[in-house]
Protein backbone atom coordinates (compact mmCIF):
# COMPACT_ATOMS: atom_id res chain seq x y z
CA UNK A 1 0.00 0.00 0.00
CA UNK A 2 1.14 3.52 -0.76
CA UNK A 3 0.94 4.85 2.78
CA UNK A 4 3.78 2.56 3.77
CA UNK A 5 6.29 4.94 2.22
CA UNK A 6 5.91 7.04 5.35
CA UNK A 7 6.63 4.16 7.74
CA UNK A 8 8.61 5.67 10.63
CA UNK A 9 9.65 2.34 12.15
CA UNK A 10 13.00 2.26 10.22
CA UNK A 11 13.76 5.76 11.51
CA UNK A 12 13.14 4.94 15.17
CA UNK A 13 14.94 1.66 14.69
CA UNK A 14 18.02 3.34 13.23
CA UNK A 15 18.15 5.85 16.11
CA UNK A 16 18.02 2.87 18.44
CA UNK A 17 20.83 1.13 16.51
CA UNK A 18 22.93 4.30 16.43
CA UNK A 19 22.76 4.68 20.20
CA UNK A 20 23.55 1.05 20.88
CA UNK A 21 26.47 1.06 18.42
CA UNK A 22 28.12 4.17 19.83
CA UNK A 23 27.52 3.77 23.55
CA UNK A 24 27.82 1.00 26.13
CA UNK A 25 24.53 -0.86 26.55
CA UNK A 26 23.57 0.73 29.89
CA UNK A 27 24.27 4.26 28.71
CA UNK A 28 22.52 3.67 25.42
CA UNK A 29 19.48 2.48 27.33
CA UNK A 30 19.57 5.54 29.59
CA UNK A 31 20.09 7.87 26.62
CA UNK A 32 17.16 6.32 24.75
CA UNK A 33 14.86 6.55 27.74
CA UNK A 34 15.88 10.16 28.32
CA UNK A 35 15.18 11.06 24.70
CA UNK A 36 11.74 9.41 24.80
CA UNK A 37 10.93 10.97 28.16
CA UNK A 38 11.94 14.47 27.10
CA UNK A 39 10.14 14.21 23.77
CA UNK A 40 6.90 13.12 25.42
CA UNK A 41 7.25 15.75 28.14
CA UNK A 42 7.63 18.52 25.56
CA UNK A 43 4.83 17.08 23.47
CA UNK A 44 2.56 16.92 26.53
CA UNK A 45 3.30 20.48 27.58
CA UNK A 46 3.01 21.95 24.09
CA UNK A 47 -0.25 20.17 23.28
CA UNK A 48 -1.73 21.08 26.66
CA UNK A 49 -0.78 24.75 26.40
CA UNK A 50 -1.95 25.12 22.83
CA UNK A 51 -5.25 23.40 23.54
CA UNK A 52 -5.91 26.03 26.19
CA UNK A 53 -5.17 28.70 23.62
CA UNK A 54 -7.33 26.93 21.03
CA UNK A 55 -10.19 26.75 23.51
CA UNK A 56 -9.95 30.47 24.18
CA UNK A 57 -9.84 31.24 20.48
CA UNK A 58 -12.79 28.95 19.68
CA UNK A 59 -14.75 30.38 22.60
CA UNK A 60 -14.01 33.90 21.37
CA UNK A 61 -15.07 32.96 17.86
CA UNK A 62 -18.36 31.48 19.11
CA UNK A 63 -19.08 34.57 21.17
CA UNK A 64 -18.05 36.98 18.42
CA UNK A 65 -14.98 38.26 20.26
CA UNK A 66 -11.35 38.42 19.21
CA UNK A 67 -9.80 36.38 21.99
CA UNK A 68 -6.17 36.56 23.10
CA UNK A 69 -4.21 38.54 20.50
CA UNK A 70 -1.70 40.67 22.42
CA UNK A 71 1.08 38.30 23.45
CA UNK A 72 2.80 37.28 20.26
CA UNK A 73 1.29 36.89 16.82
CA UNK A 74 -2.46 36.09 17.29
CA UNK A 75 -1.62 35.44 20.94
CA UNK A 76 0.45 32.34 20.21
CA UNK A 77 2.60 32.71 23.34
CA UNK A 78 -0.26 33.81 25.60
CA UNK A 79 -0.59 30.48 27.37
CA UNK A 80 3.18 30.09 27.75
CA UNK A 81 3.24 33.47 29.45
CA UNK A 82 0.35 32.30 31.64
CA UNK A 83 2.31 29.20 32.57
CA UNK A 84 5.31 31.24 33.73
CA UNK A 85 3.04 33.58 35.65
CA UNK A 86 1.43 30.62 37.44
CA UNK A 87 4.86 29.13 38.11
CA UNK A 88 5.83 32.34 39.93
CA UNK A 89 2.74 32.34 42.17
CA UNK A 90 2.77 31.30 45.78
CA UNK A 91 1.32 27.88 46.60
CA UNK A 92 -1.36 28.33 49.24
CA UNK A 93 -2.27 25.36 51.40
CA UNK A 94 -5.24 26.16 53.58
CA UNK A 95 -4.91 25.63 57.30
CA UNK A 96 -7.45 22.87 57.81
CA UNK A 97 -6.65 20.90 54.67
CA UNK A 98 -5.39 17.33 54.72
CA UNK A 99 -1.90 18.36 53.62
CA UNK A 100 -0.65 15.02 52.32
CA UNK A 101 -3.66 14.22 50.15
CA UNK A 102 -3.91 17.85 49.09
CA UNK A 103 -0.40 17.67 47.65
CA UNK A 104 -0.84 14.18 46.26
CA UNK A 105 -3.91 14.95 44.12
CA UNK A 106 -2.16 16.89 41.27
CA UNK A 107 0.34 14.04 40.92
CA UNK A 108 -2.40 11.47 40.41
CA UNK A 109 -4.29 13.60 37.92
CA UNK A 110 -1.18 14.28 35.83
CA UNK A 111 0.06 10.68 35.99
CA UNK A 112 -3.32 9.41 34.77
CA UNK A 113 -3.37 11.68 31.75
CA UNK A 114 0.33 11.27 30.94
CA UNK A 115 0.32 7.47 31.01
CA UNK A 116 -2.49 7.40 28.48
CA UNK A 117 -0.25 9.01 25.86
CA UNK A 118 2.01 5.95 25.92
CA UNK A 119 -0.39 3.82 23.87
CA UNK A 120 -1.45 6.27 21.16
CA UNK A 121 -0.12 5.52 17.65
CA UNK A 122 0.77 8.95 16.24
CA UNK A 123 1.92 7.76 12.83
CA UNK A 124 2.91 4.55 11.18
CA UNK A 125 5.61 3.04 13.40
CA UNK A 126 5.54 6.01 15.77
CA UNK A 127 4.20 5.01 19.17
CA UNK A 128 5.79 4.64 22.59
CA UNK A 129 4.40 1.25 23.53
CA UNK A 130 2.28 -0.91 21.25
CA UNK A 131 0.11 -2.66 23.82
CA UNK A 132 -1.83 -5.68 22.67
CA UNK A 133 -4.64 -4.47 24.96
CA UNK A 134 -4.38 -0.81 23.89
CA UNK A 135 -8.05 0.18 24.27
CA UNK A 136 -8.34 -1.55 27.61
CA UNK A 137 -5.13 0.08 28.83
CA UNK A 138 -6.27 3.58 27.92
CA UNK A 139 -9.62 3.04 29.61
CA UNK A 140 -7.94 1.70 32.74
CA UNK A 141 -5.37 4.47 32.99
CA UNK A 142 -7.68 7.37 32.23
CA UNK A 143 -10.11 6.25 34.92
CA UNK A 144 -7.42 6.66 37.59
CA UNK A 145 -7.83 10.42 37.20
CA UNK A 146 -11.10 10.33 39.12
CA UNK A 147 -9.16 9.32 42.25
CA UNK A 148 -7.12 12.50 41.97
CA UNK A 149 -10.26 14.59 41.56
CA UNK A 150 -11.94 12.97 44.56
CA UNK A 151 -8.84 13.42 46.71
CA UNK A 152 -8.50 17.05 45.67
CA UNK A 153 -12.12 17.79 46.58
CA UNK A 154 -12.12 15.90 49.83
CA UNK A 155 -8.76 17.07 51.17
CA UNK A 156 -9.48 20.75 50.53
CA UNK A 157 -11.84 20.91 53.51
CA UNK A 158 -14.15 23.10 51.51
CA UNK A 159 -17.81 22.21 51.12
CA UNK A 160 -18.00 23.34 47.54
CA UNK A 161 -14.91 21.33 46.67
CA UNK A 162 -16.42 18.26 48.24
CA UNK A 163 -19.71 18.64 46.36
CA UNK A 164 -17.80 19.20 43.12
CA UNK A 165 -15.63 16.14 43.68
CA UNK A 166 -18.59 13.92 44.52
CA UNK A 167 -20.45 15.04 41.42
CA UNK A 168 -17.36 14.48 39.37
CA UNK A 169 -16.90 11.01 40.84
CA UNK A 170 -20.49 9.95 40.11
CA UNK A 171 -20.24 11.39 36.62
CA UNK A 172 -16.89 9.91 35.62
CA UNK A 173 -17.63 6.41 36.87
CA UNK A 174 -21.03 6.43 35.17
CA UNK A 175 -19.82 7.59 31.80
CA UNK A 176 -16.84 5.27 31.85
CA UNK A 177 -19.25 2.42 31.12
CA UNK A 178 -20.41 4.06 27.91
CA UNK A 179 -16.87 4.87 26.85
CA UNK A 180 -15.87 1.24 27.24
CA UNK A 181 -18.95 -0.27 25.64
CA UNK A 182 -18.88 2.02 22.61
CA UNK A 183 -15.23 1.15 21.96
CA UNK A 184 -16.18 -2.52 22.17
CA UNK A 185 -18.21 -2.10 19.00
CA UNK A 186 -15.02 -1.51 17.03
CA UNK A 187 -13.21 -4.20 18.99
CA UNK A 188 -15.83 -6.68 17.75
CA UNK A 189 -15.49 -5.44 14.16
CA UNK A 190 -11.70 -5.56 14.08
CA UNK A 191 -11.26 -8.51 16.44
CA UNK A 192 -8.47 -6.83 18.34
CA UNK A 193 -7.79 -4.42 21.21
CA UNK A 194 -4.39 -3.42 19.86
CA UNK A 195 -4.54 0.13 18.54
CA UNK A 196 -2.02 -0.41 15.74
CA UNK A 197 -3.95 -3.47 14.51
CA UNK A 198 -7.20 -1.50 14.62
CA UNK A 199 -5.61 1.22 12.50
CA UNK A 200 -4.22 -1.33 10.04
CA UNK A 201 -7.65 -2.94 9.75
CA UNK A 202 -8.99 0.36 8.36
CA UNK A 203 -6.71 0.32 5.33
CA UNK A 204 -9.63 -0.15 2.92
CA UNK A 205 -12.05 2.21 4.68
CA UNK A 206 -12.49 3.72 8.12
CA UNK A 207 -14.69 1.87 10.60
CA UNK A 208 -17.17 4.72 10.77
CA UNK A 209 -17.85 4.08 7.07
CA UNK A 210 -17.40 0.31 7.03
CA UNK A 211 -19.26 -0.26 10.27
CA UNK A 212 -22.65 1.01 9.07
CA UNK A 213 -25.05 2.65 11.50
CA UNK A 214 -23.84 0.88 14.70
CA UNK A 215 -20.40 2.44 14.28
CA UNK A 216 -21.94 5.90 13.88
CA UNK A 217 -24.10 5.36 16.97
CA UNK A 218 -21.05 4.15 18.86
CA UNK A 219 -19.10 7.22 17.78
CA UNK A 220 -21.82 9.60 18.95
CA UNK A 221 -22.13 7.77 22.27
CA UNK A 222 -18.36 7.76 22.65
CA UNK A 223 -17.96 11.45 22.00
CA UNK A 224 -20.79 12.28 24.42
CA UNK A 225 -19.46 10.02 27.14
CA UNK A 226 -15.91 11.15 26.47
CA UNK A 227 -16.90 14.78 26.92
CA UNK A 228 -18.56 13.84 30.20
CA UNK A 229 -15.57 11.84 31.36
CA UNK A 230 -13.23 14.76 30.87
CA UNK A 231 -15.52 16.98 32.97
CA UNK A 232 -16.06 19.38 30.13
CA UNK A 233 -19.10 21.45 29.39
CA UNK A 234 -22.06 20.78 29.12
CA UNK A 235 -21.11 18.16 31.73
CA UNK A 236 -18.88 20.41 33.83
CA UNK A 237 -20.92 20.18 37.03
CA UNK A 238 -17.79 19.35 38.96
CA UNK A 239 -16.51 22.87 38.49
CA UNK A 240 -19.76 24.69 37.86
CA UNK A 241 -18.37 28.15 38.48
CA UNK A 242 -21.73 29.81 39.03
CA UNK A 243 -22.62 27.54 41.95
CA UNK A 244 -19.42 25.96 43.30
CA UNK A 245 -16.80 28.70 42.79
CA UNK A 246 -14.41 26.36 40.94
CA UNK A 247 -15.48 22.96 42.22
CA UNK A 248 -12.84 20.51 43.29
CA UNK A 249 -9.88 22.80 42.59
CA UNK A 250 -11.16 25.89 44.40
CA UNK A 251 -8.40 25.78 47.00
CA UNK A 252 -5.54 25.13 44.60
CA UNK A 253 -3.35 27.99 43.53
CA UNK A 254 -0.39 28.62 41.28
CA UNK A 255 1.14 25.70 39.44
CA UNK A 256 -1.01 23.08 41.17
CA UNK A 257 -4.10 24.68 39.69
CA UNK A 258 -2.32 24.77 36.35
CA UNK A 259 -1.78 21.01 36.56
CA UNK A 260 -5.48 20.35 37.04
CA UNK A 261 -6.16 22.57 34.06
CA UNK A 262 -3.48 20.86 31.97
CA UNK A 263 -4.75 17.40 32.88
CA UNK A 264 -8.28 18.34 31.82
CA UNK A 265 -7.08 19.42 28.40
CA UNK A 266 -4.81 16.43 27.98
CA UNK A 267 -7.67 14.11 28.86
CA UNK A 268 -9.65 15.79 26.14
CA UNK A 269 -6.76 15.23 23.74
CA UNK A 270 -6.61 11.60 24.77
CA UNK A 271 -10.33 11.05 24.23
CA UNK A 272 -10.15 12.82 20.88
CA UNK A 273 -7.17 10.75 19.74
CA UNK A 274 -8.85 7.52 20.74
CA UNK A 275 -11.98 8.58 18.85
CA UNK A 276 -9.86 9.51 15.83
CA UNK A 277 -7.83 6.30 16.01
CA UNK A 278 -10.64 3.85 16.59
CA UNK A 279 -13.45 5.33 14.51
CA UNK A 280 -11.72 7.55 11.96
CA UNK A 281 -8.68 5.45 11.18
CA UNK A 282 -5.98 7.26 13.16
CA UNK A 283 -3.05 7.90 10.85
CA UNK A 284 -4.68 5.92 8.04
CA UNK A 285 -5.35 8.09 4.96
CA UNK A 286 -8.85 8.32 3.54
CA UNK A 287 -9.39 5.27 1.36
CA UNK A 288 -12.46 4.43 -0.67
CA UNK A 289 -12.73 0.78 -1.75
CA UNK A 290 -12.38 0.54 -5.52
CA UNK A 291 -10.96 4.01 -6.21
CA UNK A 292 -7.28 3.20 -6.73
CA UNK A 293 -6.27 6.58 -8.12
CA UNK A 294 -7.94 8.48 -5.30
CA UNK A 295 -6.39 6.19 -2.69
CA UNK A 296 -2.93 6.66 -4.14
CA UNK A 297 -3.35 10.44 -4.16
CA UNK A 298 -4.43 10.37 -0.50
CA UNK A 299 -1.41 8.25 0.42
CA UNK A 300 0.90 11.16 -0.38
CA UNK A 301 -0.33 13.10 2.66
CA UNK A 302 1.84 11.90 5.58
CA UNK A 303 0.03 9.81 8.22
CA UNK A 304 1.00 12.19 11.01
CA UNK A 305 -0.98 14.95 9.28
CA UNK A 306 -3.99 12.65 9.05
CA UNK A 307 -3.72 11.78 12.73
CA UNK A 308 -3.41 15.36 13.97
CA UNK A 309 -6.03 16.60 11.53
CA UNK A 310 -8.62 14.09 12.69
CA UNK A 311 -7.79 14.66 16.35
CA UNK A 312 -8.09 18.41 15.87
CA UNK A 313 -11.52 18.00 14.27
CA UNK A 314 -12.77 15.84 17.14
CA UNK A 315 -11.37 18.37 19.65
CA UNK A 316 -13.14 21.15 17.78
CA UNK A 317 -16.41 19.21 18.04
CA UNK A 318 -15.90 18.84 21.79
CA UNK A 319 -15.20 22.55 22.17
CA UNK A 320 -18.24 23.30 20.08
CA UNK A 321 -20.31 21.21 22.54
CA UNK A 322 -19.02 23.23 25.46
CA UNK A 323 -19.90 26.60 24.02
CA UNK A 324 -23.25 25.54 22.59
CA UNK A 325 -25.13 23.57 25.23
CA UNK A 326 -26.17 24.80 28.68
CA UNK A 327 -24.92 22.85 31.68
CA UNK A 328 -26.94 19.78 32.70
CA UNK A 329 -28.36 19.18 36.16
CA UNK A 330 -26.98 16.19 38.04
CA UNK A 331 -30.21 14.18 37.72
CA UNK A 332 -30.38 14.88 33.99
CA UNK A 333 -26.76 13.86 33.70
CA UNK A 334 -27.25 10.52 35.40
CA UNK A 335 -30.51 9.89 33.55
CA UNK A 336 -28.78 10.47 30.23
CA UNK A 337 -26.16 7.87 31.04
CA UNK A 338 -28.15 5.16 32.79
CA UNK A 339 -31.47 5.37 30.98
CA UNK A 340 -30.34 6.32 27.48
CA UNK A 341 -26.68 5.72 26.64
CA UNK A 342 -26.26 2.43 28.50
CA UNK A 343 -29.32 0.61 27.02
CA UNK A 344 -28.47 2.04 23.57
CA UNK A 345 -24.97 0.66 23.93
CA UNK A 346 -26.11 -2.79 24.98
CA UNK A 347 -28.50 -3.06 22.04
CA UNK A 348 -25.83 -1.68 19.74
CA UNK A 349 -23.37 -4.37 20.75
CA UNK A 350 -25.94 -7.10 20.02
CA UNK A 351 -26.61 -5.57 16.59
CA UNK A 352 -22.89 -5.40 15.82
CA UNK A 353 -22.42 -9.00 16.92
CA UNK A 354 -25.24 -9.97 14.54
CA UNK A 355 -23.70 -7.97 11.68
CA UNK A 356 -20.30 -9.56 12.22
CA UNK A 357 -21.91 -12.99 12.46
CA UNK A 358 -23.72 -12.51 9.17
CA UNK A 359 -20.79 -10.78 7.48
CA UNK A 360 -22.88 -7.72 6.53
CA UNK A 361 -19.94 -5.32 6.46
CA UNK A 362 -17.14 -4.46 4.05
CA UNK A 363 -14.34 -6.86 4.84
Amino acid sequence: MGYQRYDLAPLTHSIDLFLYNHLPATWAFIAEMTIIGVVFLIFYAVIGLYLVLAERKVCAFMQNRIGPNRVGWFGVIQTIADLFKLLMKELITIRKADKFLFNLAPFIVIIASFLGLAAIPFAMGLHAIDFNIGIFYIMAVSSVGVVGVLLAGWSSNNKYSLIGAMRSGAQIVSYELSVGLSLLVIAIYSGSLQLSTIVESQADAWWIIKGHIPAIIAFIVFITAGTAETNRGPFDLAEAESELTAGFHTEYSGIKFAFFFLAEYMNMFLIASVAATVFWGGWMPLHIPGCEGFNNAMDFIPPICWYFGKTAIVILIMMWFKWTFPRLRIDQLLTLEWKYLLPINLVNIIVVALIVLMGWYIK
Partner: protein, 116 residues
Protein backbone atom coordinates in the same frame (compact mmCIF):
# COMPACT_ATOMS: atom_id res chain seq x y z
CA UNK B 1 9.62 -0.36 23.33
CA UNK B 2 8.60 -3.07 25.73
CA UNK B 3 5.73 -2.82 28.17
CA UNK B 4 8.11 -2.38 31.10
CA UNK B 5 9.10 1.05 29.84
CA UNK B 6 5.75 2.24 31.14
CA UNK B 7 7.74 2.89 34.31
CA UNK B 8 9.50 5.62 32.35
CA UNK B 9 6.21 7.41 31.72
CA UNK B 10 5.37 7.16 35.39
CA UNK B 11 8.72 8.65 36.38
CA UNK B 12 8.45 11.48 33.86
CA UNK B 13 4.95 12.37 35.05
CA UNK B 14 6.03 12.41 38.69
CA UNK B 15 9.15 14.42 37.81
CA UNK B 16 7.07 16.97 35.87
CA UNK B 17 4.78 17.69 38.81
CA UNK B 18 7.50 17.29 41.42
CA UNK B 19 9.95 19.69 39.80
CA UNK B 20 7.33 22.33 39.03
CA UNK B 21 5.82 22.20 42.51
CA UNK B 22 9.31 22.19 44.06
CA UNK B 23 10.22 25.26 42.02
CA UNK B 24 7.03 26.99 43.10
CA UNK B 25 7.71 26.24 46.74
CA UNK B 26 11.17 27.82 46.69
CA UNK B 27 11.23 30.71 44.21
CA UNK B 28 7.97 32.74 44.47
CA UNK B 29 7.60 35.29 47.28
CA UNK B 30 5.60 34.10 50.28
CA UNK B 31 3.53 35.84 52.91
CA UNK B 32 1.84 34.35 55.94
CA UNK B 33 -1.70 35.48 56.61
CA UNK B 34 -4.35 33.89 58.77
CA UNK B 35 -7.23 34.91 56.53
CA UNK B 36 -5.47 33.68 53.41
CA UNK B 37 -5.30 30.14 54.74
CA UNK B 38 -9.06 29.94 55.35
CA UNK B 39 -11.17 27.86 52.93
CA UNK B 40 -12.96 30.01 50.37
CA UNK B 41 -16.72 29.65 50.36
CA UNK B 42 -18.41 32.82 49.06
CA UNK B 43 -16.18 34.96 51.27
CA UNK B 44 -18.17 34.35 54.46
CA UNK B 45 -16.57 32.44 57.32
CA UNK B 46 -17.22 28.73 57.02
CA UNK B 47 -19.41 26.99 59.56
CA UNK B 48 -18.65 23.55 60.96
CA UNK B 49 -16.57 20.80 59.48
CA UNK B 50 -16.69 19.67 55.86
CA UNK B 51 -16.07 16.02 56.53
CA UNK B 52 -19.61 15.00 57.39
CA UNK B 53 -21.96 12.30 56.15
CA UNK B 54 -22.78 12.88 52.54
CA UNK B 55 -25.74 12.38 50.22
CA UNK B 56 -26.26 8.63 49.82
CA UNK B 57 -27.35 9.01 46.18
CA UNK B 58 -23.77 9.10 44.96
CA UNK B 59 -22.90 5.79 46.61
CA UNK B 60 -25.90 4.07 45.06
CA UNK B 61 -24.66 4.96 41.61
CA UNK B 62 -21.20 3.81 42.55
CA UNK B 63 -22.58 0.38 43.50
CA UNK B 64 -24.57 0.02 40.28
CA UNK B 65 -21.48 1.15 38.39
CA UNK B 66 -19.36 -1.51 40.06
CA UNK B 67 -21.66 -4.26 38.78
CA UNK B 68 -21.70 -2.94 35.24
CA UNK B 69 -17.99 -2.22 35.10
CA UNK B 70 -17.08 -5.75 36.06
CA UNK B 71 -19.47 -6.91 33.36
CA UNK B 72 -17.69 -4.67 30.81
CA UNK B 73 -14.42 -6.33 31.74
CA UNK B 74 -16.05 -9.67 30.93
CA UNK B 75 -17.21 -8.46 27.51
CA UNK B 76 -13.73 -7.30 26.47
CA UNK B 77 -12.26 -10.76 25.84
CA UNK B 78 -15.53 -11.83 24.24
CA UNK B 79 -15.35 -8.91 21.77
CA UNK B 80 -11.90 -9.93 20.61
CA UNK B 81 -12.82 -13.54 19.81
CA UNK B 82 -16.39 -12.89 18.63
CA UNK B 83 -15.38 -13.00 14.96
CA UNK B 84 -13.50 -16.29 15.21
CA UNK B 85 -15.96 -18.22 17.39
CA UNK B 86 -19.09 -17.03 15.62
CA UNK B 87 -22.54 -18.44 16.41
CA UNK B 88 -21.77 -19.87 19.85
CA UNK B 89 -20.30 -16.58 21.07
CA UNK B 90 -23.37 -14.74 19.81
CA UNK B 91 -25.79 -17.02 21.67
CA UNK B 92 -23.72 -16.75 24.82
CA UNK B 93 -23.66 -12.96 24.74
CA UNK B 94 -27.44 -12.95 24.20
CA UNK B 95 -27.87 -14.95 27.41
CA UNK B 96 -25.35 -12.73 29.19
CA UNK B 97 -27.08 -9.54 28.10
CA UNK B 98 -30.49 -10.97 28.97
CA UNK B 99 -29.39 -11.48 32.58
CA UNK B 100 -27.66 -8.11 32.57
CA UNK B 101 -30.76 -6.43 31.15
CA UNK B 102 -32.85 -7.98 33.93
CA UNK B 103 -30.40 -6.48 36.41
CA UNK B 104 -30.65 -3.05 34.84
CA UNK B 105 -34.46 -3.20 34.78
CA UNK B 106 -34.46 -4.32 38.41
CA UNK B 107 -32.24 -1.40 39.45
CA UNK B 108 -34.40 0.93 37.36
CA UNK B 109 -37.70 -0.25 38.92
CA UNK B 110 -36.22 -0.18 42.40
CA UNK B 111 -35.45 3.50 41.84
CA UNK B 112 -31.69 3.11 42.15
CA UNK B 113 -31.25 5.17 38.99
CA UNK B 114 -33.47 8.00 40.20
CA UNK B 115 -31.83 11.06 41.64
CA UNK B 116 -33.34 12.32 44.91
Amino acid sequence: MSNESLVLFFIVAVALVGLAVGFSMIIPPKSKNLVKSEPYECGIETKGTTWVQFNVGYYLFAIVYLVFDVETVFIFPWAVVMKTIGMRAFVEILIFFFILGLGLIYAWKKGALKWE
